[in-house]
């Protein structure tokens, strides 16, 4: 049976702006929101949109990501006709090639696409937090008889210079594209979500591969080329929460966004974001626990004070510990008399008794995976 739409998630980046958090794992594997990994969002969106065949293109430090994805069963993607396919770079007769750019990554997997024989290809970045029904975008693509449809979102005019900006006519057809323009003509930013008619995509990828001057990137090379050829490019406008989590600050902020009285998207509603979980019991709150404005997951033992924070599974917080405005990732222990303020503490860390981890707005403190933070020799009591 012919697959109608195949999704390809670009999950190969290092996410170097996430610093120590991506030292050992790829960016899409970074924990988020007390329960998820960043890749859960595009993956769950695909499953919920009825797209059951998903290629995940990995490259940088993919081990944890590969382990996490498994056979896709956590996202209900282990199907007879479909599934999650992990696609790292591979060797051929003429040698081995790393993925040189987002377009090159798809190009190197054209054989995978051909084998599935889909009418459409959905290309997604694995970098953003959002919930979206891709089938609507696919419908718009079909209705417009488009060759490519680009997902766009309105951003504040002051932010527009940071993005690839699309200019559309009244019918939604893209007439111009500016990459990080100083004086943008519109405030519709490209989301890095593309629907292509397969044969059309194939042609451009093959041409681009032959071009040695190209950086093999969708945004920088492929889309401008398509536009120059006056291809039928349409914009699909998305409305809703869409957060880039590419920097420490934005990752921290996106976590904090979930703590509002009404979170920016339904975490538990019909459009479920699935993740692969361990078998852990509900968390335990001790007799002197004081937890407010926070998210807490299973298997944790909270004996102390937690305010405005995101607590992942298996975290232990001692009775005299205080955690404010922070993100504490799985299986970290926070000891007695500690203060964690405005920080991201990665997995399996130990904040030893008396230690302090203090960041401030604009300068989130990060404790990398597996680290132990000891109390400073001349530790002052935090005011």
């Amino acid at each position: 049976m012919k697959t109608s739409c195949l999704a390809m998630i670009l999950a190969g980046g290092q996410g170097s702006r996430l610093g120590v958090l991506t030292k050992k794992i790829a960016k899409p594997a970074v924990p988020f929101g007390g329960k998820y990994r960043i890749i859960d969002f595009p993956l769950s969106n695909c499953a919920n949109s009825g797209i059951h065949r998903v290629g995940v293109l990995t490259q940088y430090r993919p081990l944890e990501l590969h382990n996490y994805l498994g056979n896709g069963s956590a996202w209900d993607l282990d199907r007879k006709d479909g599934g999650v396919f992990i696609l790292p770079p591979y060797a051929r007769e003429k040698g081995a090639d790393w993925y040189k750019g987002t377009a090159d990554a798809i190009y190197q997997n054209l054989n995978f696409i051909e084998a599935a024989d889909p009418a459409y290809v959905l290309v997604l970045s694995g970098d953003h937090i959002y919930t979206m029904d891709y089938s609507w975008m696919l419908d718009a693509h079909k209705q417009n008889k488009a060759e490519a449809t680009i997902g766009v979102i309105e951003v504040p005019w002051t932010e527009a210079p940071r993005f690839g900006i699309m200019n559309m006519d009244t019918a939604g057809r893209i007439v111009d594209f500016e990459e990080k323009p100083k004086k943008p003509k519109s405030n519709f930013a490209s989301m890095g979500i593309y629907v292509f008619t397969t044969s059309f995509l194939q042609r451009y990828l093959e041409a681009d591969a032959k071009n040695s001057h190209s950086s093999h990137d969708f945004g920088k090379d492929i889309i401008p080329r398509m536009l120059a050829d006056q291809a039928r490019l349409f914009a699909y406008s998305f409305e809703g929460y869409w957060k880039d989590v590419g920097t420490i600050e934005s990752l921290w902020q996106a976590n904090m966004d979930l703590l509002q009285d009404k979170p920016p998207f339904e975490m538990d509603g019909e459009w479920r974001i699935h993740s692969s979980n361990l078998s852990l019991p509900p968390h335990y709150m001790g007799p002197e626990a004081r937890v407010t404005s926070s998210l807490v997951n299973e298997g944790s033992v909270i004996l102390g004070e937690v305010e405005n924070s995101v607590i992942f599974p298996g975290v232990r917080i001692a009775r005299t510990a205080r955690v404010h405005n922070s993100v504490v990732m799985p299986f970290t222990t926070i000891g007695e008399g500690t203060l964690v303020e405005h920080a991201i503490v990665a997995q399996n860390c130990v904040i030893a008794g008396g230690a302090q981890v203090i960041g401030k707005p604009g300068a989130v403190k990060v404790v990398p995976e597996g680290e132990t933070v000891a109390a400073a020799a001349n530790n002052q009591q935090a005011g």
Partner: protein
């Protein structure tokens, strides 16, 4: 433990726990915020290496089937063996009532299995143990039947099977008692024997008019078979009545019990639900409690268990209570010493109080 197959019996008298078992067997009662009572015996079996498990279904089996499904969440969805449902006989003329009949009519399954031993467990007892120790004990003592027991840590008003054993573990007496006293050796309803012994016991007992596995197959045959007792020293709770269910739930709020049952041994598996982490809002005050994912808390909760998807609105006070899945406690409601079954709504300003040793039970779907 590849040489051991498992059999879980879900038929248990539930007259003392009527309110919670109207539509479900004891094994399906939600427990500890996330589990069903059957999860404990089943997980212990799987973690001990048992890969072929038959489940003797009771008459009210819908909730069991809905919970276990293919057995995938317990790692029992396998090509060979895995989980096998054993329904009660279709034609039941009402004679020989009891769990022995279900065993007898499902002997085919036992006959076709190839393991040397069979381990029987009951779906209404809570523990987390490694059965390979029981197998070793069984082999070392040369017993025909090994019964697993624990020493009661306090008086228990529920009925139980009390054992008396010699120093070497040989069981010298088995008695069915209406209440348990502290320090008595109480059967955990776990038996280990060879498949052949089990088949012989069941056949012999049933064909001679027997009704109950323990009474007719085991107790009446002790002269022909040697029975040894294996002592388990971890936490055990037998769910036989509302009080014992409530007591066991309050026990699990003690960190030592919670850690022993859930963290120190191999995991307890249950049906995966994938809910969001608990959202504690600004006015939340939660102490000494277990709170399952999917809950949204704006009120006060002390010494209680909240199952998944429970909403506690502002001004609500919950104390010494068990609030099951998807209940909603609206503003300023109060629940003290209460067990709320699934989907209960306690509307604004309503107060519900049970007594400390006699909880008030609110049935499924009721709106107060």
């Amino acid at each position: 433990m590849k040489s051991v197959m498992g059999l879980v019996n879900l038929q248990k008298k539930d007259t003392l726990i009527k309110e919670l078992t109207e539509n479900r067997p004891i094994a399906s009662i939600p427990f500890a915020g996330r589990y069903r009572i059957i999860d404990f015996a089943l997980s212990s079996m799987v973690n001990s290496g048992i890969g072929n498990v038959g489940v003797l279904l009771p008459e009210k089996s819908r909730s069991v089937l809905d919970h276990l499904r293919s057995g995938k969440d317990w790692d029992l969805a396998r090509h060979h063996d895995g989980l096998c449902y054993l329904p009660p006989p279709i034609t039941d003329d009402g004679t020989q009532p009891g769990n022995l009949k279900n065993c007898y009519y499902n002997l085919d399954f036992i006959n076709h299995s190839t393991e040397k031993y069979i381990l029987l467990a009951n779906g209404s007892v809570i523990y987390n143990m490694d059965f390979s120790n029981v197998l070793r004990f069984h082999q070392n003592t040369g017993a025909d039947i090994t019964m697993v027991y624990n020493v009661a840590s306090r008086d228990d008003p529920g009925a139980g099977v009390v054992l008396e054993t010699a120093e070497n573990g040989l069981v010298t007496d088995i008695a069915l008692k209406p209440a348990i006293r502290e320090d008595e050796k109480v059967s955990m309803c776990v038996y280990l024997m060879t498949r052949q012994v089990f088949i012989d016991l069941v056949r012999d007992a049933f064909e001679h008019g027997g009704c109950d596995f323990l009474l007719d197959a085991v107790m009446r045959q002790t002269k022909d078979y040697t029975v040894y007792g294996y002592a388990h020293d971890g936490y055990v709770a037998r769910i036989t009545s509302t009080i014992s269910y409530y007591q066991a739930s309050m026990d699990v709020l003690e960190p030592e019990v919670w850690e022993e049952l859930f963290l120190r041994q191999a995991s307890v598996y249950t049906k995966i639900k994938d809910r969001a982490p608990v959202q504690y809002k600004e006015t939340a005050r939660v102490t000494n409690s277990l709170v399952a994912n999917g809950c949204i808390v704006r009120g006060e909760v002390d010494h209680s268990i909240l199952f998944r998807g429970v909403e506690i609105e502002k001004g609500v006070k919950v104390k010494n209570s068990i609030i099951m899945q998807c209940c909603v406690l609206q503003q300023n409601a109060l629940a003290e010493n209460v067990i709320c079954d699934k989907n209960v709504v306690i509307t604004r300003d309503k107060w519900l109080k049970g007594a400390p040793n006699y909880p008030l039970i609110v049935g499924k779907n009721i709106v107060i």
